[in-house]
Amino acid sequence: MEKVIAGKNIQVNEEGYLTDFSQWDQTVGEEIAKEANITMTSRHWEVIKFLQDQHQQKVALSIRKIGQSKVVDIKEFYALFPQGPLKVSTKIAGIPKPASCI
C-alpha cells in the first residue's frame, strides 16, 4: 500500500515497513522515527547506516549480531531505540523487519 511520508508517496507493507528501499531518504527515516517518538541524533544515524549496510550484504539481523557489530552495543541499542529496537530501527532504516527470535 501507499503512504505519504515526508510529502512523498512511499510503498509500505501493512506494518509500515518500506517495500522499496530506493524510495528511502533521510527525511523519510526522520518522519518514521518521529512516529515512533524518537528524535534522531548522529548516533542514531550511524546505527541506521550500519543496518542498511548489513541488509545490503544480505546479513540476517539479530540482537546478537548487533552486539557483535562493534558499532553499537546491545545496551545502547535499546537506549537509542526503546520499545523494540530491532523492529523500530529497521523501519526507520527502510529495510524489512527481521524475522529473528534472537
Binding site: 540482537i63 546478537r64 552486539g67 535499546y78 529473528s100 527470535c101 534472537i102
Partner: protein
Amino acid sequence: MTTEFNGEIRKMMIILSKATLENVYAAFVLANGARMEGIEAEIFFTFFGLEAIHAKKLEHLHIATVGNPAMHMPTLLGGLPGMESLATAMMKKEMERIDMPDVHEFLDILVASGVKLWACRLAMDMFHYKKEDMYEGVEAVITVGDFYKQGSGIGTHMLFI
C-alpha cells in the same frame, strides 16, 4: 467491553525451575523475544533452574536424553555414559549454526537488553549457594513474594518452565 490494554502483554515474568539446556534456552529466548518487542521481562531462577545462573555450572548444562520422548532414543540407550554429552555437543553445534549464543553470552545479552534476573532465596538456601557464587548479572536473591511484587501492574503475564 474493553480489556486491559486490549489484552496487550506489557511484562513477562518467567520462572525457570529446570537446568536442562532445552528448558533454559526456552526461558532465555522467551525473555529476549519479549524485550525485542518492547515488552518488559524478568526471570526468577528457582530449584534446578539456579544452575543456569551458577557461575561454575552454567557452562556445563546438558539436554535430557532420558525421559525425553522427542529424542527418539530408547531410554536405556539415553542412560549410557557419555550419551548426554554427545547429544548436547550435537545440539550446541546446531545452535551455533542458527546464531544461538551459549548460556553465558545469552545471559550477557539478556542483562544488556534490560531483563532482570532474580535468584530464589529458598532454593539458594537449599543448595547452599551464595550470591557471590552466581553469574554477576543477577540482580538479587529474593523471595516468591518479592517476585510477585515485581510482577504487579496491568498486562503482566507469568510463565512457569
